[in-house]
């Protein structure tokens, strides 16, 4: 059964002080429906990805927030998997289409993070970690710093190599009118930025962001009255790992990413070499280095050098990663990220990514991670 991305949208990402969570959800949903040339009454079910609306805003039961804004009364399910909430919402939506329960569904992801001070956000995000991690005074930057340290010691990955990931993603964001940070940075700026958790510095870290993204998916050919080039979801797979970092077999890879990717490549009938463009979960620069290795794009331990040589940057040969600017520079409204990735790849495969278009992009991949790697969702799309 072919699943088509009929419509896709992203709100601006950034510090959006005049927009509430509800405003962001409405804007992204209506834009995606408009892009699909459908109206709210065509939506048979809603899936919404979000992590922090309860902790930060006392608002749970987000499903009816979406249907109320659209003026419909259909089934609405909220999906939570920390920073993979968006990707897992896509996964559940795809399952609902494959089961033939529904034929056309809306998936929206949103997060409102800048109403609260950074210390509160840092603590709230730790809800994605384990009890032991919270008691250790660990933060997400510190968990990825532990992974970075292990990767540096095992493979000789350097701080310059990690910085190169941030430099590339900022360059891409400078071409994205919706990104939070639309400017370029240099390796020197990254290396000189404030230390957060050694070896990670401020410019190795994704920011605190408000934003939403939405897609309309269908399994019904007759619904496809859109003028857009068709983009298909060929595989959407997920895997899990231990919640806490200490219980993992390895500190230099994310097993959940590897397992989800293995299943996704098999289902889509493609190999890592076939991927032209990918949106990867670069919550920290080390995360994109591990991602391109775990997804099979580069050999384990070699990715850092490739980034430093300028590979995966727009204009270079072969795979291009994070044309949106990634989590690092486009921004990371956690529940929206996994859906923004699908929206970005959809634009690329339609040939509508404008200044950041990857030429002749035919096969795209999205990798969305929850926590320090306890959930991973890998989606493969084609045109």
């Amino acid at each position: 059964m072919a699943i088509t991305v009929l419509g896709a949208s992203t709100t601006n990402f950034g510090e959006l002080w005049n927009q509430s969570l509800r405003d962001l959800i409405r804007e992204a949903s209506l834009l995606a429906l408009k892009d699909a040339n459908l109206s709210p009454k065509d939506v048979e079910a809603v899936f919404v990805g979000n992590m922090l609306s309860g902790i930060l805003g006392s608002q749970e039961q987000l499903g009816p927030v979406v249907t109320e804004e659209l003026g419909i009364n259909v089934s609405a399910t909220r999906v939570e998997a920390a920073c993979a909430s968006g990707g897992l919402a896509i996964y559940e939506a795809v399952n609902s289409l494959l089961s033939q329960r529904f034929t056309t569904v809306l998936v929206v992801g949103a997060e409102k993070m800048t109403d609260k001070p950074a210390e509160k956000i840092t603590s709230s995000l730790m809800a994605a970690g384990s009890d032991a991690e919270r008691q250790a005074g660990a933060t997400f930057p510190s968990l990825y710093a532990l992974l970075a340290k292990a990767h540096m010691e095992k493979y000789g990955t350097s701080e310059e190599e990690m910085a190169a990931v941030a430099v590339k993603n900022h360059y891409h964001a400078s071409l994205n009118g919706q990104a939070q940070f639309r400017f370029s940075i240099t390796i020197e700026q990254v290396l000189k930025s404030t230390k957060i958790c050694d070896p990670l510095k401020l410019l190795d870290c994704s920011p605190i962001t408000d934003g939403a993204a939405a897609v309309v998916l269908t399994s019904e050919n007759s619904k496809q009255k859109t003028v857009n080039r068709h983009v298909y979801i060929n595989a959407c797979e997920t895997a899990t790992d231990t919640l806490g970092l200490a219980q993992r077999e390895s500190l230099t890879e994310l097993k959940a990413t590897k397992l989800a990717a293995e299943k996704a490549y098999k289902k889509a009938g493609v190999t890592p070499k076939d991927i032209d463009v990918a949106e990867l979960h670069d919550c920290f620069t080390i995360a994109e280095i591990m991602a391109v290795e775990d997804l099979g794009f580069f050999k384990k331990g070699e990715a850092g050098k490739k980034f430093l040589q300028g590979e995966t940057k727009l204009g270079s040969k072969g795979l291009i990663t994070n044309t949106s600017g990634g989590l690092k520079a486009c921004g990371h409204p956690v529940g929206a990220t996994g859906i923004k990735q699908i929206a970005e790849i959809t634009k690329q495969l339609r040939g509508k990514a404008e200044k950041k278009q990857v030429e002749n992009a035919k096969v795209g991949l999205c990798q969305n991670v929850g926590g320090s790697g306890a959930t991973a969702v890998v989606t493969i799309l084609t045109n």
């Binding site: 292990a150 958790c197 500190l251």
Partner: protein
């Protein structure tokens, strides 16, 4: 606030870990702490390979925890440590004080 009942449940298990020895696998210096830890920052958080599993545990065991009594600016991989009992995060005036396990370096 951490619920007193949750603390009571944890305390029964903590004694199994006290005095255990291990080696640091990875460590980071946390300069930007979460709520309740600002009076301790900057501090090291480490993942430690334990020599022996805690009482009742089996096989290889790794723990994550905060380091205390560190006077160096870096924790090297392989640093030997032992598990100690310490106060965790700052709590409100009338909350139950939350104790748990941390790591202390032992001679190399």
């Amino acid at each position: 606030m951490t619920s007193p009942i949750k603390i009571w449940r944890e305390q029964k298990k903590i004694k199994n870990f006290l005095g255990l020895k291990g080696k640091v696998v990875s460590a980071t210096l946390v300069r930007v702490p979460p709520l309740g830890f600002s009076n301790q920052a900057p501090y090291f958080v480490a993942i430690v390979d334990m020599e022996n599993p805690a009482k009742g545990g089996q096989g290889k065991q790794r723990l994550i925890g905060q380091m205390v009594d560190v006077f160096e600016t870096e924790i090297k991989t392989g640093q030997k440590v032992e598990v100690v009992y310490r106060k965790l995060a700052e709590t409100d005036k009338e909350d139950v004080i939350h104790y748990g396990i941390k790591f202390r370096p032992t001679s190399p």
